[in-house]
Protein backbone atom coordinates (compact mmCIF):
# COMPACT_ATOMS: atom_id res chain seq x y z
CA UNK A 1 0.00 0.00 0.00
CA UNK A 2 2.70 2.33 1.09
CA UNK A 3 4.79 1.76 -1.96
CA UNK A 4 1.69 2.23 -4.04
CA UNK A 5 0.89 5.56 -2.48
CA UNK A 6 4.49 6.76 -2.78
CA UNK A 7 4.44 5.75 -6.45
CA UNK A 8 1.22 7.65 -6.87
CA UNK A 9 2.76 10.70 -5.21
CA UNK A 10 5.75 10.46 -7.48
CA UNK A 11 3.50 10.18 -10.50
CA UNK A 12 1.57 13.23 -9.36
CA UNK A 13 4.79 15.15 -8.90
CA UNK A 14 5.94 14.07 -12.33
CA UNK A 15 2.65 15.18 -13.86
CA UNK A 16 2.95 18.50 -12.09
CA UNK A 17 6.54 18.98 -13.22
CA UNK A 18 5.62 18.04 -16.74
CA UNK A 19 2.78 20.52 -16.73
CA UNK A 20 5.04 23.27 -15.48
CA UNK A 21 7.68 22.36 -18.07
CA UNK A 22 4.99 22.46 -20.69
CA UNK A 23 4.03 25.93 -19.53
CA UNK A 24 7.68 26.99 -19.59
CA UNK A 25 8.07 25.50 -23.02
CA UNK A 26 4.98 27.29 -24.24
CA UNK A 27 6.24 30.51 -22.75
CA UNK A 28 9.62 30.03 -24.40
CA UNK A 29 7.95 29.21 -27.69
CA UNK A 30 5.69 32.24 -27.36
CA UNK A 31 8.71 34.39 -26.58
CA UNK A 32 10.54 33.06 -29.62
CA UNK A 33 7.47 33.50 -31.78
CA UNK A 34 7.14 37.06 -30.55
CA UNK A 35 10.74 37.77 -31.53
CA UNK A 36 10.33 36.13 -34.93
CA UNK A 37 7.11 38.05 -35.59
CA UNK A 38 8.20 41.45 -34.39
CA UNK A 39 11.93 41.82 -34.89
CA UNK A 40 12.86 43.97 -37.86
CA UNK A 41 15.94 41.79 -38.29
CA UNK A 42 15.92 38.90 -40.71
CA UNK A 43 16.12 35.75 -38.57
CA UNK A 44 16.25 32.37 -40.28
CA UNK A 45 17.06 28.75 -39.63
CA UNK A 46 18.36 26.28 -42.19
CA UNK A 47 19.29 22.62 -42.28
CA UNK A 48 22.88 21.53 -42.88
CA UNK A 49 22.48 22.10 -46.62
CA UNK A 50 21.31 25.66 -46.15
CA UNK A 51 17.67 24.91 -47.00
CA UNK A 52 15.45 27.39 -45.18
CA UNK A 53 13.37 25.90 -42.39
CA UNK A 54 12.17 29.11 -40.80
CA UNK A 55 12.11 32.73 -41.90
CA UNK A 56 11.04 35.65 -39.70
CA UNK A 57 8.56 38.41 -40.52
CA UNK A 58 11.50 40.82 -40.47
CA UNK A 59 13.12 38.67 -43.14
CA UNK A 60 10.04 39.02 -45.32
CA UNK A 61 10.38 42.80 -45.05
CA UNK A 62 14.14 42.86 -45.61
CA UNK A 63 14.15 40.67 -48.74
CA UNK A 64 10.61 41.30 -49.97
CA UNK A 65 9.77 37.57 -50.21
CA UNK A 66 7.04 35.87 -48.18
CA UNK A 67 7.77 32.67 -46.22
CA UNK A 68 5.85 30.65 -48.81
CA UNK A 69 8.16 31.96 -51.53
CA UNK A 70 11.39 31.08 -49.73
CA UNK A 71 10.35 27.81 -48.04
CA UNK A 72 12.53 24.95 -49.28
CA UNK A 73 15.02 27.26 -51.05
CA UNK A 74 18.64 27.71 -50.05
CA UNK A 75 19.58 30.89 -48.17
CA UNK A 76 22.73 31.12 -50.33
CA UNK A 77 20.58 31.84 -53.37
CA UNK A 78 19.43 35.12 -51.86
CA UNK A 79 22.96 36.39 -51.37
CA UNK A 80 24.41 38.50 -54.17
CA UNK A 81 27.44 36.30 -54.17
CA UNK A 82 26.22 32.77 -53.27
CA UNK A 83 29.74 31.28 -53.36
CA UNK A 84 31.27 33.56 -50.75
CA UNK A 85 28.09 33.31 -48.68
CA UNK A 86 28.64 29.53 -48.79
CA UNK A 87 32.15 30.06 -47.35
CA UNK A 88 30.63 32.25 -44.65
CA UNK A 89 28.13 29.49 -43.78
CA UNK A 90 30.90 26.89 -43.72
CA UNK A 91 33.08 28.94 -41.40
CA UNK A 92 30.18 29.37 -38.97
CA UNK A 93 29.74 25.61 -38.93
CA UNK A 94 33.42 25.01 -38.26
CA UNK A 95 33.82 27.70 -35.62
CA UNK A 96 30.36 27.42 -34.11
CA UNK A 97 29.55 31.00 -35.11
CA UNK A 98 30.64 33.73 -37.52
CA UNK A 99 29.98 37.42 -38.01
CA UNK A 100 30.16 39.49 -41.19
CA UNK A 101 29.88 43.28 -41.12
CA UNK A 102 28.47 43.80 -44.57
CA UNK A 103 26.82 40.92 -46.43
CA UNK A 104 24.97 41.75 -49.64
CA UNK A 105 21.59 40.15 -50.24
CA UNK A 106 19.40 40.71 -53.24
CA UNK A 107 15.90 42.07 -52.65
CA UNK A 108 13.00 40.62 -54.62
CA UNK A 109 12.94 43.86 -56.64
CA UNK A 110 16.61 43.48 -57.49
CA UNK A 111 18.17 46.11 -55.25
CA UNK A 112 21.10 45.32 -52.99
CA UNK A 113 20.45 44.92 -49.28
CA UNK A 114 23.38 45.47 -46.95
CA UNK A 115 23.24 43.37 -43.80
CA UNK A 116 25.22 42.97 -40.66
CA UNK A 117 24.99 39.18 -40.32
CA UNK A 118 25.79 36.69 -37.59
CA UNK A 119 25.44 32.94 -38.06
CA UNK A 120 25.38 30.24 -35.39
CA UNK A 121 25.74 26.54 -35.93
CA UNK A 122 22.87 24.43 -34.52
CA UNK A 123 23.78 21.10 -32.97
CA UNK A 124 21.60 18.33 -31.53
CA UNK A 125 22.12 16.60 -28.19
CA UNK A 126 24.67 14.28 -29.67
CA UNK A 127 26.73 17.23 -30.83
CA UNK A 128 25.91 16.68 -34.48
CA UNK A 129 25.42 19.68 -36.71
CA UNK A 130 21.82 19.96 -37.75
CA UNK A 131 21.73 23.38 -39.27
CA UNK A 132 22.37 27.11 -38.99
CA UNK A 133 20.56 30.03 -37.41
CA UNK A 134 21.20 33.48 -38.83
CA UNK A 135 20.38 36.97 -37.58
CA UNK A 136 20.82 39.69 -40.19
CA UNK A 137 20.31 43.37 -39.56
CA UNK A 138 19.40 45.50 -42.58
CA UNK A 139 21.91 48.38 -42.63
CA UNK A 140 21.16 49.57 -46.18
CA UNK A 141 19.66 52.89 -45.06
CA UNK A 142 22.43 53.46 -42.61
CA UNK A 143 24.99 52.73 -45.34
CA UNK A 144 23.31 55.20 -47.66
CA UNK A 145 23.24 57.83 -44.96
CA UNK A 146 26.92 57.27 -44.34
CA UNK A 147 27.72 57.58 -48.04
CA UNK A 148 25.62 60.73 -48.26
CA UNK A 149 27.47 62.21 -45.33
CA UNK A 150 30.81 61.44 -46.93
CA UNK A 151 29.52 63.00 -50.14
CA UNK A 152 28.31 66.12 -48.31
CA UNK A 153 31.62 66.36 -46.48
CA UNK A 154 33.57 66.06 -49.68
CA UNK A 155 31.39 68.66 -51.36
CA UNK A 156 31.80 71.04 -48.46
CA UNK A 157 35.56 70.56 -48.61
CA UNK A 158 35.66 71.20 -52.37
CA UNK A 159 33.50 74.24 -51.75
CA UNK A 160 35.88 75.60 -49.13
CA UNK A 161 38.93 75.09 -51.31
CA UNK A 162 37.19 76.55 -54.35
CA UNK A 163 36.02 79.57 -52.39
CA UNK A 164 39.55 80.21 -51.16
CA UNK A 165 40.91 80.01 -54.69
CA UNK A 166 38.08 82.15 -56.06
CA UNK A 167 38.72 84.81 -53.47
CA UNK A 168 42.42 84.93 -54.26
CA UNK A 169 41.68 85.15 -57.98
CA UNK A 170 39.29 88.07 -57.57
CA UNK A 171 42.13 90.38 -56.57
CA UNK A 172 44.30 89.89 -59.66
CA UNK A 173 41.09 89.96 -61.72
CA UNK A 174 40.34 93.38 -60.29
CA UNK A 175 43.81 94.51 -61.35
CA UNK A 176 43.37 93.16 -64.90
CA UNK A 177 39.99 94.86 -65.03
CA UNK A 178 41.36 98.28 -64.05
CA UNK A 179 44.48 97.95 -66.20
CA UNK A 180 42.44 97.12 -69.30
CA UNK A 181 40.03 99.96 -68.49
CA UNK A 182 42.94 102.34 -68.27
CA UNK A 183 44.44 101.01 -71.50
CA UNK A 184 41.07 101.67 -73.15
CA UNK A 185 41.14 105.27 -72.02
CA UNK A 186 44.73 105.74 -73.19
CA UNK A 187 43.90 104.32 -76.61
CA UNK A 188 40.85 106.55 -76.77
CA UNK A 189 43.00 109.63 -76.20
CA UNK A 190 45.97 108.54 -78.30
CA UNK A 191 46.83 110.49 -81.41
CA UNK A 192 48.67 109.25 -84.42
CA UNK A 193 47.20 105.75 -84.39
CA UNK A 194 46.09 104.39 -87.73
CA UNK A 195 42.40 103.54 -87.71
CA UNK A 196 43.25 99.85 -88.23
CA UNK A 197 45.59 99.83 -85.24
CA UNK A 198 43.05 101.67 -83.15
CA UNK A 199 40.37 99.14 -83.98
CA UNK A 200 42.73 96.24 -83.26
CA UNK A 201 43.63 97.70 -79.87
CA UNK A 202 40.05 98.52 -78.98
CA UNK A 203 38.88 95.04 -79.88
CA UNK A 204 41.68 93.41 -77.90
CA UNK A 205 40.92 95.54 -74.85
CA UNK A 206 37.21 94.73 -75.14
CA UNK A 207 38.15 91.01 -75.26
CA UNK A 208 40.24 91.36 -72.12
CA UNK A 209 37.34 93.06 -70.33
CA UNK A 210 34.78 90.52 -71.52
CA UNK A 211 36.88 87.58 -70.41
CA UNK A 212 37.65 89.22 -67.09
CA UNK A 213 33.89 89.40 -66.58
CA UNK A 214 33.64 85.75 -67.53
CA UNK A 215 36.21 84.83 -64.89
CA UNK A 216 34.57 86.90 -62.21
CA UNK A 217 31.24 85.34 -63.10
CA UNK A 218 32.74 81.94 -62.28
CA UNK A 219 34.48 83.02 -59.09
CA UNK A 220 31.31 84.70 -57.83
CA UNK A 221 29.17 81.66 -58.54
CA UNK A 222 31.70 79.51 -56.72
CA UNK A 223 31.69 81.79 -53.73
CA UNK A 224 27.90 81.72 -53.71
CA UNK A 225 28.05 77.96 -53.79
CA UNK A 226 30.43 77.69 -50.88
CA UNK A 227 28.73 80.34 -48.87
CA UNK A 228 27.11 78.84 -45.87
CA UNK A 229 24.76 81.50 -44.70
CA UNK A 230 21.48 81.07 -42.93
CA UNK A 231 18.46 80.92 -45.18
CA UNK A 232 15.90 83.64 -44.66
CA UNK A 233 12.51 82.01 -44.70
CA UNK A 234 9.21 83.73 -45.08
CA UNK A 235 5.70 82.96 -46.25
CA UNK A 236 5.18 83.54 -49.99
CA UNK A 237 3.34 82.28 -53.08
CA UNK A 238 5.49 80.05 -55.28
CA UNK A 239 3.39 80.97 -58.32
CA UNK A 240 4.41 84.60 -57.91
CA UNK A 241 8.09 83.66 -57.80
CA UNK A 242 7.69 81.48 -60.90
CA UNK A 243 6.06 84.34 -62.80
CA UNK A 244 8.82 86.71 -61.74
CA UNK A 245 11.38 84.17 -62.89
CA UNK A 246 9.79 84.04 -66.34
CA UNK A 247 9.75 87.84 -66.47
CA UNK A 248 13.39 87.83 -65.55
CA UNK A 249 14.13 85.39 -68.39
CA UNK A 250 12.05 87.22 -71.02
CA UNK A 251 15.16 88.58 -72.80
CA UNK A 252 16.40 85.00 -73.22
CA UNK A 253 13.06 83.90 -74.61
CA UNK A 254 12.78 86.64 -77.22
CA UNK A 255 12.77 85.42 -80.83
CA UNK A 256 12.99 81.78 -79.76
CA UNK A 257 9.39 80.70 -80.53
CA UNK A 258 9.43 78.70 -77.30
CA UNK A 259 5.99 78.09 -75.92
CA UNK A 260 5.75 78.14 -72.14
CA UNK A 261 2.77 76.34 -70.62
CA UNK A 262 1.78 77.05 -67.07
CA UNK A 263 0.02 74.23 -65.35
CA UNK A 264 -0.43 75.60 -61.87
CA UNK A 265 -2.25 74.06 -58.93
CA UNK A 266 -5.42 76.03 -58.18
CA UNK A 267 -5.05 79.11 -55.99
CA UNK A 268 -1.86 80.44 -54.47
CA UNK A 269 0.83 77.92 -53.52
CA UNK A 270 1.96 79.32 -50.19
CA UNK A 271 5.08 77.98 -48.58
CA UNK A 272 7.37 79.05 -45.78
CA UNK A 273 10.79 79.00 -47.41
CA UNK A 274 13.47 81.19 -48.96
CA UNK A 275 12.08 82.84 -52.13
CA UNK A 276 15.45 84.22 -53.25
CA UNK A 277 17.12 80.82 -53.15
CA UNK A 278 14.18 79.07 -54.79
CA UNK A 279 14.18 81.62 -57.57
CA UNK A 280 17.80 80.73 -58.21
CA UNK A 281 16.73 77.09 -58.61
CA UNK A 282 13.89 78.03 -61.00
CA UNK A 283 16.18 80.24 -63.08
CA UNK A 284 18.58 77.32 -63.43
CA UNK A 285 15.85 74.82 -64.35
CA UNK A 286 14.22 77.09 -66.90
CA UNK A 287 17.48 78.31 -68.43
CA UNK A 288 18.59 74.70 -68.84
CA UNK A 289 15.22 73.88 -70.44
CA UNK A 290 15.57 76.81 -72.85
CA UNK A 291 19.05 75.68 -73.88
CA UNK A 292 17.84 72.09 -74.27
CA UNK A 293 15.00 72.97 -76.66
CA UNK A 294 17.13 75.43 -78.62
CA UNK A 295 19.86 72.87 -79.02
CA UNK A 296 17.37 70.43 -80.48
CA UNK A 297 16.73 72.82 -83.33
CA UNK A 298 13.51 72.58 -85.34
CA UNK A 299 10.07 71.38 -84.38
CA UNK A 300 7.75 72.49 -81.67
CA UNK A 301 9.60 73.98 -78.71
CA UNK A 302 7.72 73.52 -75.51
CA UNK A 303 8.44 74.06 -71.82
CA UNK A 304 5.85 73.15 -69.24
CA UNK A 305 5.95 74.50 -65.70
CA UNK A 306 3.74 72.51 -63.39
CA UNK A 307 2.99 72.86 -59.70
CA UNK A 308 1.30 70.37 -57.43
CA UNK A 309 0.27 70.85 -53.83
CA UNK A 310 0.08 67.98 -51.37
CA UNK A 311 -0.63 68.09 -47.65
CA UNK A 312 2.95 68.70 -46.66
CA UNK A 313 4.82 69.55 -49.84
CA UNK A 314 4.88 71.82 -52.84
CA UNK A 315 6.12 70.20 -56.02
CA UNK A 316 7.40 72.27 -58.91
CA UNK A 317 8.51 70.69 -62.14
CA UNK A 318 9.95 72.06 -65.36
CA UNK A 319 9.49 69.81 -68.37
CA UNK A 320 10.99 70.39 -71.80
CA UNK A 321 10.96 68.57 -75.10
CA UNK A 322 14.60 69.37 -75.78
CA UNK A 323 17.67 67.25 -76.42
CA UNK A 324 17.49 65.33 -73.14
CA UNK A 325 20.43 64.06 -71.14
CA UNK A 326 22.35 61.05 -72.47
CA UNK A 327 22.19 58.12 -70.09
CA UNK A 328 25.93 58.10 -69.40
CA UNK A 329 25.78 61.74 -68.27
CA UNK A 330 22.80 61.37 -65.97
CA UNK A 331 24.77 60.20 -62.94
CA UNK A 332 27.08 63.21 -63.13
CA UNK A 333 24.80 66.17 -63.71
CA UNK A 334 24.86 67.28 -60.07
CA UNK A 335 28.66 67.04 -59.88
CA UNK A 336 30.59 70.20 -59.33
CA UNK A 337 32.08 71.50 -62.61
CA UNK A 338 30.35 68.87 -64.74
CA UNK A 339 28.98 70.40 -67.91
CA UNK A 340 28.02 69.22 -71.36
CA UNK A 341 28.12 72.71 -72.78
CA UNK A 342 31.04 73.89 -74.92
CA UNK A 343 33.90 75.70 -73.14
CA UNK A 344 32.87 79.15 -72.01
CA UNK A 345 29.14 78.42 -72.13
CA UNK A 346 28.58 76.51 -68.92
CA UNK A 347 30.36 76.60 -65.59
CA UNK A 348 29.17 73.21 -64.37
CA UNK A 349 27.93 74.89 -61.23
CA UNK A 350 24.22 75.50 -61.82
CA UNK A 351 22.75 72.18 -60.80
CA UNK A 352 25.28 71.64 -57.99
CA UNK A 353 24.16 74.95 -56.57
CA UNK A 354 20.50 73.95 -57.01
CA UNK A 355 21.08 70.70 -55.17
CA UNK A 356 22.82 72.53 -52.37
CA UNK A 357 20.00 75.05 -52.08
CA UNK A 358 17.26 72.44 -52.07
CA UNK A 359 19.13 70.50 -49.41
CA UNK A 360 19.33 73.63 -47.30
CA UNK A 361 15.60 74.10 -47.66
CA UNK A 362 15.06 70.49 -46.57
CA UNK A 363 13.58 69.61 -49.92
CA UNK A 364 14.27 67.12 -52.62
CA UNK A 365 15.49 67.48 -56.19
CA UNK A 366 15.05 64.88 -58.93
CA UNK A 367 14.92 64.53 -62.69
CA UNK A 368 13.85 62.25 -65.48
CA UNK A 369 15.35 62.45 -68.89
CA UNK A 370 15.59 60.64 -72.18
CA UNK A 371 18.08 61.59 -74.87
CA UNK A 372 16.28 63.08 -77.84
CA UNK A 373 12.92 63.29 -76.05
CA UNK A 374 13.35 65.77 -73.22
CA UNK A 375 13.86 66.24 -69.51
CA UNK A 376 11.78 66.98 -66.44
CA UNK A 377 13.37 68.53 -63.38
CA UNK A 378 11.39 68.47 -60.18
CA UNK A 379 11.87 70.09 -56.82
CA UNK A 380 9.80 69.28 -53.76
CA UNK A 381 9.94 71.47 -50.69
CA UNK A 382 8.08 71.30 -47.40
CA UNK A 383 5.19 73.76 -47.15
CA UNK A 384 6.14 74.90 -43.65
Amino acid sequence: MESNSSLLAELKKLTRDLASHKIELEQARGYLQCILQNSTDMIFATDVDGILLSFSKGGEKVLGYSWEEVAGRRINDFAEDPVSFGHFMASSQEEGSAVALDVHFQHKEGKTIHCHASLMSLTNREGQRVGTVGVCRDITLWKKLQDDLIQVDRLAEIGRIAAGVAHEINNPLAVINEASGWAGEVVGDARGLSSDDRRELEESIEKISAHTRRCSNITHKLLDFARDSATTKREFDIHEVLKETIDFLTPELKHTSIEIDFNFAGGPLSVNSDPRLLEQVFVNFITNAIHAVLEKGGGERRIEIRTIKTNSEAEISVKDNGVGIPEEAQAKIFDLFYTTKPPGKGTGLGLSICQNIVRKLEGDISFESKAGVGSTFTVRIPIS
Binding site: A166, N177, A179, W182, R227
Partner: protein, 164 residues
Protein backbone atom coordinates in the same frame (compact mmCIF):
# COMPACT_ATOMS: atom_id res chain seq x y z
CA UNK B 1 32.20 116.82 -66.27
CA UNK B 2 33.96 120.15 -65.84
CA UNK B 3 31.44 121.48 -63.37
CA UNK B 4 31.97 118.41 -61.19
CA UNK B 5 32.80 119.35 -57.62
CA UNK B 6 36.23 118.49 -56.38
CA UNK B 7 35.65 115.13 -54.74
CA UNK B 8 38.47 113.96 -52.49
CA UNK B 9 38.83 110.21 -52.57
CA UNK B 10 40.96 108.12 -50.22
CA UNK B 11 41.82 104.70 -51.65
CA UNK B 12 42.88 101.90 -49.27
CA UNK B 13 44.00 98.55 -50.67
CA UNK B 14 47.11 96.44 -50.24
CA UNK B 15 46.94 95.56 -53.93
CA UNK B 16 49.25 98.36 -55.13
CA UNK B 17 48.87 97.73 -58.85
CA UNK B 18 45.09 97.97 -58.54
CA UNK B 19 45.35 101.40 -56.90
CA UNK B 20 47.89 102.50 -59.47
CA UNK B 21 45.36 102.03 -62.29
CA UNK B 22 42.31 103.02 -60.30
CA UNK B 23 43.91 106.30 -59.22
CA UNK B 24 45.07 107.04 -62.79
CA UNK B 25 41.52 106.67 -64.06
CA UNK B 26 39.98 108.67 -61.23
CA UNK B 27 42.57 111.47 -61.60
CA UNK B 28 41.78 111.65 -65.29
CA UNK B 29 38.17 112.28 -64.29
CA UNK B 30 39.31 115.12 -62.04
CA UNK B 31 38.91 113.46 -58.70
CA UNK B 32 41.43 114.30 -56.03
CA UNK B 33 42.95 110.95 -55.14
CA UNK B 34 45.16 109.69 -52.36
CA UNK B 35 46.33 106.07 -52.51
CA UNK B 36 47.25 104.26 -49.32
CA UNK B 37 48.30 100.64 -49.13
CA UNK B 38 47.26 99.71 -45.61
CA UNK B 39 44.71 100.63 -42.96
CA UNK B 40 47.44 102.19 -40.85
CA UNK B 41 48.62 104.40 -43.71
CA UNK B 42 45.04 105.46 -44.46
CA UNK B 43 44.44 106.49 -40.84
CA UNK B 44 47.61 108.60 -40.88
CA UNK B 45 46.47 110.23 -44.11
CA UNK B 46 43.05 111.00 -42.62
CA UNK B 47 44.71 112.80 -39.72
CA UNK B 48 46.55 115.04 -42.19
CA UNK B 49 43.86 115.86 -44.70
CA UNK B 50 40.13 115.73 -45.22
CA UNK B 51 38.47 113.33 -47.62
CA UNK B 52 34.91 112.99 -48.84
CA UNK B 53 34.82 109.34 -49.76
CA UNK B 54 37.03 106.39 -48.85
CA UNK B 55 37.21 103.20 -50.91
CA UNK B 56 38.41 100.48 -48.54
CA UNK B 57 39.36 96.87 -49.26
CA UNK B 58 37.88 94.48 -46.71
CA UNK B 59 40.77 92.07 -46.48
CA UNK B 60 44.15 93.60 -45.74
CA UNK B 61 47.12 92.59 -43.63
CA UNK B 62 47.33 94.61 -40.42
CA UNK B 63 44.17 96.56 -39.69
CA UNK B 64 41.40 95.09 -41.84
CA UNK B 65 38.76 97.00 -43.76
CA UNK B 66 36.14 96.83 -41.03
CA UNK B 67 38.41 98.35 -38.43
CA UNK B 68 39.91 100.83 -40.90
CA UNK B 69 36.58 102.34 -41.87
CA UNK B 70 35.54 102.50 -38.21
CA UNK B 71 38.67 104.45 -37.27
CA UNK B 72 38.49 106.66 -40.34
CA UNK B 73 35.00 107.72 -39.33
CA UNK B 74 36.19 108.43 -35.82
CA UNK B 75 38.65 110.93 -37.24
CA UNK B 76 36.31 112.28 -39.93
CA UNK B 77 32.70 111.61 -38.95
CA UNK B 78 31.23 112.62 -42.32
CA UNK B 79 33.51 110.48 -44.43
CA UNK B 80 31.54 107.96 -46.49
CA UNK B 81 33.17 104.56 -46.91
CA UNK B 82 32.71 102.22 -49.85
CA UNK B 83 33.90 98.76 -48.92
CA UNK B 84 35.33 96.39 -51.53
CA UNK B 85 35.38 92.69 -50.94
CA UNK B 86 36.80 89.73 -52.79
CA UNK B 87 33.84 87.69 -51.61
CA UNK B 88 30.94 87.46 -53.98
CA UNK B 89 28.40 87.67 -51.28
CA UNK B 90 28.49 91.19 -50.16
CA UNK B 91 25.72 89.97 -47.87
CA UNK B 92 28.23 88.10 -45.74
CA UNK B 93 29.64 91.40 -44.61
CA UNK B 94 26.15 92.82 -44.19
CA UNK B 95 24.96 89.80 -42.26
CA UNK B 96 27.85 90.08 -39.88
CA UNK B 97 26.47 93.50 -39.03
CA UNK B 98 29.97 94.77 -38.35
CA UNK B 99 30.01 97.37 -41.05
CA UNK B 100 28.40 100.71 -41.36
CA UNK B 101 29.49 101.49 -44.88
CA UNK B 102 27.81 103.55 -47.57
CA UNK B 103 27.94 100.60 -49.97
CA UNK B 104 29.59 97.25 -50.45
CA UNK B 105 30.97 96.16 -53.79
CA UNK B 106 32.45 92.85 -54.78
CA UNK B 107 35.72 92.69 -56.65
CA UNK B 108 36.33 93.07 -59.48
CA UNK B 109 34.17 96.17 -59.56
CA UNK B 110 32.67 97.73 -62.62
CA UNK B 111 34.55 101.01 -62.93
CA UNK B 112 31.60 103.13 -64.14
CA UNK B 113 29.50 101.75 -61.32
CA UNK B 114 32.20 102.63 -58.81
CA UNK B 115 32.40 106.21 -60.09
CA UNK B 116 28.62 106.58 -59.85
CA UNK B 117 28.66 105.28 -56.29
CA UNK B 118 31.52 107.58 -55.28
CA UNK B 119 29.43 110.50 -56.52
CA UNK B 120 26.37 109.31 -54.60
CA UNK B 121 28.46 108.90 -51.48
CA UNK B 122 29.79 112.42 -51.92
CA UNK B 123 26.24 113.75 -52.22
CA UNK B 124 25.26 112.00 -49.02
CA UNK B 125 28.30 113.36 -47.24
CA UNK B 126 27.43 116.91 -48.26
CA UNK B 127 23.82 116.47 -47.11
CA UNK B 128 24.74 115.14 -43.69
CA UNK B 129 27.50 117.66 -43.29
CA UNK B 130 25.24 120.53 -44.39
CA UNK B 131 22.49 119.76 -41.92
CA UNK B 132 24.93 119.10 -39.09
CA UNK B 133 26.80 122.33 -39.83
CA UNK B 134 23.59 124.34 -39.73
CA UNK B 135 22.69 122.74 -36.44
CA UNK B 136 26.04 123.56 -34.90
CA UNK B 137 26.13 127.13 -36.17
CA UNK B 138 22.69 127.70 -34.67
CA UNK B 139 23.93 126.29 -31.44
CA UNK B 140 26.88 128.68 -31.43
CA UNK B 141 24.49 131.60 -31.93
CA UNK B 142 22.23 130.36 -29.17
CA UNK B 143 25.19 130.00 -26.83
CA UNK B 144 25.66 133.76 -27.16
CA UNK B 145 29.43 133.57 -27.22
CA UNK B 146 31.57 136.68 -27.29
CA UNK B 147 33.74 137.57 -30.27
CA UNK B 148 36.63 135.44 -29.07
CA UNK B 149 34.47 132.48 -28.21
CA UNK B 150 32.81 132.73 -31.59
CA UNK B 151 36.15 132.77 -33.39
CA UNK B 152 37.32 129.72 -31.51
CA UNK B 153 34.10 127.88 -32.26
CA UNK B 154 34.42 128.70 -35.94
CA UNK B 155 38.01 127.47 -35.83
CA UNK B 156 36.72 124.18 -34.41
CA UNK B 157 34.17 123.92 -37.20
CA UNK B 158 36.88 124.49 -39.80
CA UNK B 159 38.78 121.62 -38.33
CA UNK B 160 35.85 119.24 -38.22
CA UNK B 161 34.55 119.99 -41.69
CA UNK B 162 37.88 120.46 -43.37
CA UNK B 163 36.83 123.65 -45.13
CA UNK B 164 39.46 126.22 -45.83
Amino acid sequence: MNDQPNIRVLLVDDEETLLEYLSKRLLKQRFTVKSTFSGEEAIEAAKEEHYDVAVVDLKMPGIDGVETQRRLREIQPFLQCIVLTGYASVDTALESGQLDAFQYLSKPVDYDNLVAIIKDAYKKRMEIQGSKFKEQVEEIYRAGLGKRGMRRAIGELHKIYGVE
